[in-house]
């Protein structure tokens, strides 16, 4: 929550809050709650999604502790079903979807374009409060009975089970509006608020990634909205559309759901890729390799994402022909993803690489996303998927892409822009410790799940055969390393907030307009409207950098 930042501001007095900037001008809690400044809204989003990440993380640790022993464990089977559902719902709807676009997108995108704000500042604030209302409803649903459907809410189970399914569905419906408003804002901003000289191909690749994400947010989210509305109606009035007993079709729900939720995983990964495209050139001190290819590949991923939803349904009874088409289209996604990977590697080639914290997370991303992406191809292949479907292999694949991919990129962005957002440097030494813990912990947790999955351990099961026991123990121990890594990170970031402001305007010697203004930026972003004369990654023009 933004109060943390304010508390630091007011508690420590004006001495360490620096000259007038967006954090201390104007002052007071009310000025934060009613702000239309994109930077403040970004900061409020950042602390909110971090809180959601903590909540979802606690659920994750509980799941792993339960699975330490087969049979008994610390909770009842019904509780376990609720906990893994809440882990999924919180992490997806409250953390990962808004994480990068709403927190960093809001903060950095207008700065990168040389704009004073996003196109619709009040809509932006509205999107934040809609997010808060959705989150509160979601928490209310957890407290008043929870739900045990899995985050996918598949019918007919979700229409017949007890618990607060309707309330949680309503929460997700409301959160969708927040996502749509953010998307509309970014597209209008990119089209109309670029600084003089900021042509489309001089925009940083972060902007291209967020723009592509916004396309998906706008085109996919309304379909989820109507799907969730129909689900609520089915539960309340038994309208018949998804219930086979009444002549409805439960597979239709899966089609509707994945028509949104597959593009939605690109809502989650595209912004991550966008951050990597910023961090890699900055710490390789080199112009990005294949700028246009990366830019277009973001748009390509956004468009192809709408044509692959059926690969979640290979065993649902959809037609074999449809499955074959979906399988082929799924392989297509690998092409733009591969284009990005090779361009990032080529950017690093012969660069002068410095391994500061953001770069460590970016390199973790490259390694983990490569594994996550390639195992996606296994699952996209029809014959293999029939065996791996609904096993831990899918769980591991998903977490390699979402956590190894998006969360690593999120952490790279957090460490990259933290000095810009709060004007303070964190402890580089502790950041490296955290990066190591998170990287090792992640691999121990999820590589073991790949092994279990390929041996047939089904996902979402409360109990398991003795043969899977060693792998479950390894995975759980890994999750503790992960947890410690995040606690260390929370520690040094919190400590940095209590220091005097010490970050220079451009601590990394990076190009990009956001580094040309002070850290933290003034309320109106730039003293003068910047004029752009060259591309976004001209590190050769920067001379020796810092």
């Amino acid at each position: 929550m933004p109060e943390d930042a304010i508390a630091t501001q007011t508690g420590e007095g004006a001495a360490n809050s620096g000259p007038a900037n967006y954090l201390n001008e104007p002052r007071g809690l009310w000025s934060w709650l009613t702000t239309v400044d994109h930077k403040r809204i970004g900061v409020m989003y950042l602390f909110s999604v971090l809180f959601a990440f903590l909540l979802g993380g606690i659920f994750a640790i509980l799941i792993r502790v339960q699975l330490l022993h087969s049979g008994g464990g610390i909770m009842k089977p019904e509780t376990y079903n609720k906990i893994f559902t809440l882990h999924g719902v919180v992490m997806i709807f409250l953390f990962i979807i808004p994480s990068i676009p709403a927190a960093f997108g809001n903060f950095v995108l207008p700065l990168m374009l040389g704009a004073k704000d996003v196109a619709f500042p009040r809509l932006n604030l509205a999107s934040y409060y809609i997010y808060v209302v959705g989150a509160l409803l979601g928490i209310a649903a957890m407290v008043t009975g929870g739900l045990d459907t899995g985050w996918t809410l598949y019918t007919p189970y979700s229409t017949s089970t007890n618990g607060s399914v309707s309330l949680m569905t309503l929460a997700a419906f409301i959160l969708g509006f927040s996502s749509i408003f953010t998307g509309i804002n970014f597209i209008a901003t990119v089209h109309k608020l670029r600084a003089p000289g900021m042509t489309w191909f001089r925009m940083p690749l972060f902007v291209w990634g967020i723009y592509s994400t916004a396309i998906i947010q706008i085109l996919a989210t309304p379909v989820l909205g109507i799907t969730l509305l129909l689900l609520i109606m089915e539960r309340m009035f038994h309208i018949g559309i998804f219930d086979p007993k009444l002549g409805g079709d439960p597979v239709l729900f899966q089609h509707f759901f994945w028509f949104y939720s597959h593009p939605a995983v690109y809502i989650m990964i595209l912004p991550g890729m966008a951050i990597i495209s910023e961090v890699i050139p900055a710490f390789s001190r080199k112009n990005i390799f294949g700028y246009k290819a990366i830019a277009y590949s973001s748009v390509a991923i956004a468009l192809v994402s709408f044509l692959v939803w059926g690969h979640h349904m290979f065993v649902s009874g959809q037609s074999q022909f449809a499955s074959a088409i979906f399988s082929f289209l799924t392989f297509l996604v690998a092409i733009p993803s591969g284009v990005k990977m090779f361009n990032w590697l080529a950017t690093m080639y012969k660069g002068s690489i410095s391994l500061e914290a953001p770069m460590l997370f970016a390199i973790s991303f490259l390694l983990l996303f490569a594994i996550g992406g390639l195992t996606g191809l296994f699952l996209g292949a029809l014959s293999v998927d029939v065996h791996l479907h609904d096993t831990y292999f899918v769980v591991a694949h998903f977490h390699f892409v979402m956590m190894g991919g998006t969360v690593m990129a999120f952490l790279a962005g957090l460490h990259y822009w933290w000095p810009k957002m709060f004007g303070r440097m964190y402890s580089e030494r502790w950041a490296r410790v955290a990066a190591a813990l998170v990287f090792v912990g992640f691999n121990v947790t999820f590589l073991s799940q790949f092994l279990m999955g390929s041996q047939g351990m089904p996902r979402r099961y409360y109990n398991y055969l003795p043969q899977y026991h060693p792998m479950h123990v390894v995975s759980t121990i890994g999750s503790w390393f992960l947890g410690v890594g995040f606690l260390v990170m929370a520690g040094y970031l919190a400590v940095s907030l209590r220091k005097k402001m010490d970050a220079p305007a451009n601590p990394w010697g990076a190009t990009g307009l956001e580094w040309q203004t002070s850290s933290p930026p003034p309320t109106h972003n730039f003293e003068q409207v910047p004029v752009v004369t060259h591309g976004p990654y001209e590190y050769s023009l920067m001379g020796a950098g810092k």
Binding site: K116, F120, G183, A188, K192, L230, M233, G247
Partner: protein, 221 residues
């Protein structure tokens, strides 16, 4: 004409230009992009319902055919005409705003609101007939003597689709009342009329959705 002169003079200060835009044109263009994107989301929202309807109708063609005989085609037709008329008066309202004609703007906005009210009134009459006969969605369906089972599903879609559409009509009426207040205050002129323009766009979309709903629900063969 003194009115329009006054609004023009007012417009020279650009009172509605937000600080982060360079010019009124930039602001209007950005808003226009935002508005069209919003309309796209509306189409996709209704799109899901249309797909669901098409699929369920293809699964239960007999039930849907029999169920739709309970609808009153005459009232549906009148409502179509009423809504088309309201789109026409809305266009005239937009035109009046662009030509600085405040009096006609107010008149046409009022006419549009009246048409929307008539539409909702007729819809209420239709709804109350259905309520009386027990033609309700899902488990509330209590109509007896149906020749084919499953007619309740038609009414599930009928109430969801016309209900969601009705909510949009209500929202449109609210927006037009807001425009009316601003029009009376003299906010709109040939230089600044984006809100009128956009509510017009929204209203046409709501109209177009009904143009699809009417044959889909009332004219099944």
């Amino acid at each position: 004409m003194s009115d329009s002169a006054a609004t023009l003079g007012h417009g020279a200060h650009e009172p509605f230009l937000q600080h982060h835009f360079e010019s009124p044109e930039q602001q209007a263009d950005a808003s226009r992009i935002g508005m069209w994107l919003f309309l796209v989301t509306e189409i996709l929202l209704f799109g899901g319902l249309f797909v669901g309807f098409a699929l369920m109708q293809s699964r239960h063609p007999e039930a849907f055919l029999h169920a739709h005989h309970h609808l009153d085609r005459t009232l549906g037709f009148i409502n179509t005409v009423v809504l088309l008329t309201s789109s026409f008066t809305m266009v005239l309202a937009v035109r009046s705003a662009q030509t600085n004609d405040r009096r006609r703007l107010i008149v046409f906005l009022l006419l549009t609101i009246v048409c929307a009210g008539i539409f909702l009134g007729i819809k209420c009459v239709e709804y109350s007939h259905k309520f009386h006969e027990g033609l309700l969605p899902g488990s509330f369906y209590s109509h007896r003597g149906d020749p084919v089972p499953g007619e309740f599903m038609f009414f599930s879609f009928y109430f969801m689709m016309t209900g969601l559409h009705g909510i949009h009509i209500l929202a449109g009426m609210g927006l037009m009342c807001w425009l009316l207040r601003r029009a009376v205050r003299g906010d709109f002129s040939s230089r600044y009329n984006t809100p009128v323009d956009f509510v017009g766009l929204y209203w046409h979309l709501v109209d177009v959705i009904w143009i699809y709903l009417f044959p889909l629900l009332y004219l099944i063969r």
